[in-house]
Every structure is written in C-alpha cells, then in structure tokens.
Amino acid sequence: MTIVDAATVKLVEPARSLVAQPEPTPLLDAESREWLQSLRAEDGTRDAAIARLHALLLRAARFEIARRRATLPHLRGNELDDIATEAADDALVSVLRRLDDYRGASRFTTWVYKFALLEAAVKLRKRAWQGREIPLEPEGWDLLSSGALEPDAEAEQSELLAAVQAAIADVLTPHQRTVLVALALNGIPIDVLADRLNTNRGALYKTLHDARRKLRKHLGECGLALDDSLEKE
C-alpha cells in the first residue's frame, strides 16, 4: 500500500469545522529551509539531498521497527532490514511527490518522519497478520460477559455491555457490524482489514465512526449514561 492509499480518506467530519485554519506560513528554521532549497535545486545538490533524505527516512523506519520488534519474534533481522528499506523507499517517493504540500507548520524533519513511520507501521501490521485468518464474527463477547462483574459499578457496565451487544445486532448495517466487530472487538489492525476488504484506512474508519455514532445515539435514547461508565484506553 502506498502512502496515498494508507492515508487518503474521506473525512469523518468536515475538517473545516474542527481543524483550526493554518497560521500564515511561518518563517522556516534554517535547517528546514536548507532541506527545501537542496531538494529543489537543479544541480548535483539535489541528488545529495535526496540521498540524505533517504538516510533520514531509513532511520525513522528502523526506529519504528525497533519499537515493534518484540511483537515480531518470527521475523529475522534481514527481513526487518528489507521492510525498513522498502518503507524508506516508499516514503521517499511520497515525500518528493508531496514536497509542495509542506507549508512549514512543523520542522521539515518532523514532516518527513511521519511518512516513513506510516509506511513502516503499515508494512509491519500486514506482515504480522500475513497468512492468518481474519475473524469477522464476534470472538470476544463470551470473554467479556462471562465474568464476575459484581456489585454496582460493574453491574452497570455489564448492563451497558448487554445493551451494546443488542444495539450492534439491531441498529447497525451488516457492513457497519462487520467493521466494528473486526476492529473494535476482535482487534484486527485497520490496515489489515482494509486490505482484506479491498478498501483503505480512511473509508474503514469512516464506517467505524458512523457505527459508533449510531450506537451512542441509540444507547442515549435508551437512557444509558455512556461516558460515566467509560474511561480512555
């Protein structure tokens, strides 16, 4: 998957209503300005800058792989090196294609890092699930509802859980149900499910978002106090 596939989405909500309008382009710091000038040069300076940029992206990709190394015990060092190189290569293409999108709202290095981190993360998620079955039916209800949820607060959550279960069955479309169960209950990574369903992260998240809104609205209409019962992950 390319950066565009991985990151291109329809809006969950109109961005204009949520995202503050960007500040006028700030003065670039000297390092960021040097990067832009070098990458836009028409002589050998550009080739050297591209080589430096690739090295920077490779460092970011390796950083991401190192953070996830413990979750990938079956991958050997040379396989991880290959993933890092592929991620850096793909990120380089994306950065050069989108160079004019950089508006100086962050340091240039921060801006380019995110491309390499995304590429590496997506590749690693897919690799971790390669050859595994993608469960689309609910797998976790029994575990969640079988326990010793005793007095008061726990009982309230148990009631909420039962209501959520019923709402998922009653108010969601089949596609919303599939996506919600796979992502939120079965823990399938969104990029893995996107590949399996031949779509992209943004489209899936939009479906997840709509399903969650529908559940919240329905449960609210049933008089259940949601956010008193929840805490952030």
């Binding site: 990151a7 291109t8 989405v9 329809k10 809006l11 969950v12 909500e13 961005a15 949520l18 995202v19 503050a20 950083f63 991401e64 953070r67 709202a105 962050s106 340091r107 290095t109 921060t110 801006w111 890092y113 995110k114 981190l117 993360a121 998620r125 575990l143 969640l144 079988s146 326990g147 010793a148 949820l149 607060a153 726990e154 959550q157 148990s158 859980l161 959520v164 998922i168 992502l183 939120a184 209950l185 990574p189 969104i190 990029d191 992260r201 943004g202 998240y205 939009k206 997840l208 978002h209 969650r212 559940l215 919240r216 449960l219 949601l226 956010d227 019962s229 929840l230 805490e231 992950e233």
Partner: protein, 78 residues
C-alpha cells in the same frame, strides 16, 4: 473465567469510540507533524488542532503512529 473490569471498560471504549468530535485519518496524518512539534515545544496542540486528540483516542493505528513520531522527534533532542 472472570472479567477484569478494566478490560471491560476498555472494550466498551473501543466499541463506542470517543464522545468528542474528531478529525479523519486523513486530516490526522496531515496535521500530525504540527501537533507533535507544538506539543514538544510546550504549546497547546489541542487548541491548535481541534479534534485530533479525540481521533487518537479512537483510532489505534493513528495513535501508534503519533506515539512513534513523538518518540522519534523527542529522540532528536527536542
């Protein structure tokens, strides 16, 4: 088998998502570098990019990439 109430809360949070309005994955990616640099500089990133924090609460993939970017930029000494 008994259920850890904390696990149950987390499961409910994953199913119901953030209560606040949130940006999309696309907008999150576009704004993530600005958000991280603002945070690390001690500014109010949430005020500058409304809805991004809620999205990070609701989207595990974007949250992981945010955490990595923050750690990597922090690793650079900022």
């Amino acid at each position: 088998m008994s259920t850890n109430p904390h696990d149950l809360q987390q499961a409910l949070a994953r199913l119901l998502g953030p209560a606040q309005r949130e940006v999309s994955c696309d907008t999150c990616f576009d704004e993530l570098d600005r958000y991280v640099d603002l945070e690390l500089a001690g500014h109010d990133a949430d005020a500058a990019v409304p809805g991004l924090r809620a999205h990070l609460d609701g989207c595990p993939a974007c949250r992981e990439e945010y955490q990595s970017l923050r750690a990597l930029v922090g690793d650079d000494g900022r």
